[in-house]
């Protein structure tokens, strides 16, 4: 039995923040800088004009000239969503997040604990502390469809297990629903429009078509759509329970270029110096930034080719990503999304004296930090060496053995030049 928890317009509501009254007006998330010119989530009033998420910006403005566009807040959305997922996980649910605002989990393991599905839903409602809509069904797609039909305090429940009887009930529930629900599955986002053009308006009509005809016309996506409409779906693959490790750097003066690069290097050093890391490598991280002048936020996920704990290699992978930043940043964040195995250096055939010295230095730093805290070993990092204001040129940051190499841009500059 799959439970789907849906927060309608989660990304839009998060981006609006305390301007919630805009949800009553035609409002849409603006296209992401550098991305496709398509609107994101839209308000109910915008839907009344025929605007839907993913619509071209030009078409959306043509349908509603007074449409309000709100800069997206991907970092804020990710933070809020992670908090909600952790609350769900803390009550024992193995969750599979579909997208921010939509998550599914299998309730079978929780039914006895909470005395049935109603008890589970009550527990989830208490844990989430935010108004959500609940759908319960034998398959994931049917549960998502049920959640979209549910009301705020009235969950939509389709009884049945994952057997043939359950699939039959799910199929019967889905039959009168519109094919537009297939947009919930990213691979099928473009299919509903084509189906509607062919006169197929409900999932029941889709399920009655022969699968071979659908495969012939639409290929694999057609077969997938038929399976979903017939009450089938793939099994959930819950995410592994995560740890949240993050470092934030507030930038008093809006930063870009070299300053931002130095800030990122500092965040890498601070993240590597955290005790919670316990010697593990990083498999993937997320860089995010709050942009100046209320320009929203920017977020970029970086998966390393191999798990890393070497700050130099991490810099090589992360610093080029800063070029995608659409505007100067007010604050920069670096979070670990997934840890790798414990950092183990492979030994070379011949001992490298420099590597041996570096290893001793790292060990000395580790012991010093264990005794005197993480601020025990620091280094001077030139943040903006050409600044005319001396207090902006350098900061103290945690010392990491291999990161203490002189940087080419940190060359001495004539003080007289700085004054001009």
């Amino acid at each position: 039995m799959i439970v789907c928890v849906l927060f309608p317009r989660f990304a839009l509501a998060t981006a609006l923040g305390d301007r919630g009254e805009l949800l009553q007006a035609p409002t849409a998330l603006a296209p992401e800088p550098g991305g496709a010119q398509q609107v994101g989530e839209v308000s109910l009033a915008a839907e009344a004009f025929g605007i839907h998420p993913g619509m071209r910006l030009g078409e959306a403005l043509a349908r509603c000239p007074r449409l309000t566009l709100v800069p997206s807040d991907p970092a804020g959305v990710a933070d809020s969503w992670e908090r909600l997922l952790v609350r769900l996980e803390s009550m024992g649910a193995a969750v599979e997040p579909e997208r921010p605002g939509l998550v599914c989990f299998d309730a079978r393991g929780l039914l006895r604990l909470h005395g049935g599905i109603d008890g589970v839903l009550s527990a989830v409602r208490r844990a989430m502390r935010s108004p959500a809509r609940f759908g319960v069904a034998p398959s994931r797609f049917a549960a998502i469809a049920a959640a979209t039909r549910a009301r705020a305090r009235r969950p939509e429940i389709v009884r049945g297990g994952s057997d043939a009887e359950g699939r039959k009930r799910a199929s019967a529930f889905l039959a009168p629903l519109p094919v537009a629900l297939l947009r919930a599955r990213p691979a099928l986002a473009d299919l509903p429009e084509a189906l509607e053009r062919l006169g197929i308006r409900t999932l029941g009509e889709l399920a009655q078509l022969p699968p071979t005809a659908l495969a012939d016309r639409f290929g694999a996506t057609g077969l997938l759509a038929h399976r979903l409409a017939s009450g089938h779906d793939s099994a959930l693959s819950p995410r592994p329970a995560s740890e949240y490790l993050r470092e934030v750097l507030e930038l008093p003066e809006a930063a870009s270029g070299t300053q931002l690069q130095r800030g990122l290097e500092m965040l890498i050093d601070r993240l590597l110096a955290r005790n919670e890391r316990r010697g593990r490598t990083f498999r993937s991280v997320v860089i995010s930034a709050v942009l100046v002048e209320q320009g929203g936020t920017w977020r970029e996920q970086v998966v390393f080719r191999e798990a890393l704990s070497d700050p130099v290699r991490m810099r090589l992978a992360l610093v080029p990503r800063l070029e995608y930043l659409p505007a100067p940043a007010e604050s920069l964040r670096l979070a670990v999304e997934r840890f790798g195995p414990l950092a183990t250096d492979q030994r070379s055939l011949l001992d490298d004296p420099a590597a041996a010295r570096m290893a001793r230095l790292r060990e000395a730093i580790r012991q010093t930090r264990a005794v005197a805290g993480p601020d025990a070993a620091m280094r001077v990092l030139e943040v903006d060496p050409d600044s005319r204001f001396p207090e902006r040129r350098a900061v103290l940051t945690p010392f990491e053995g291999s990161s203490a190499l002189p940087s080419p841009s940190g060359a001495a500059t004539d003080r007289a030049d700085r004054r001009r």
Binding site: E247, M378, R393, R419
Partner: protein
């Protein structure tokens, strides 16, 4: 872990200045000579613009000092 700590942060200093703004004494030590003076203006496009007149001076006891007058508040600061 604490955040990054800035270096060369300005510290308040007592300066006696002439009418034209030229410092005469720093922390009670008289000025022997003024080596250089320069003006810096920045962030004028924000609500907190920075306007400083720097003085590099040598006191009679031989100390080389860099002080500046914050032209918005009129206060004096020492900076290295």
């Amino acid at each position: 872990m604490s955040g990054p700590r800035r270096l060369s942060v300005p510290r308040r200093v007592a300066v006696t200045a002439a009418d034209d703004g030229c410092p005469l004494a720093v922390d009670g030590r008289e000025i022997d000579s003024v080596r250089e003076a320069w003006l810096i203006e920045d962030r004028w496009w924000t609500e907190k613009p920075l306007r400083r007149r720097y003085w590099e001076v040598v006191t009679t006891c031989g100390r080389n000092e860099i002080v500046f007058c914050d032209l918005r508040s009129g206060r004096w600061w020492r900076q290295r």
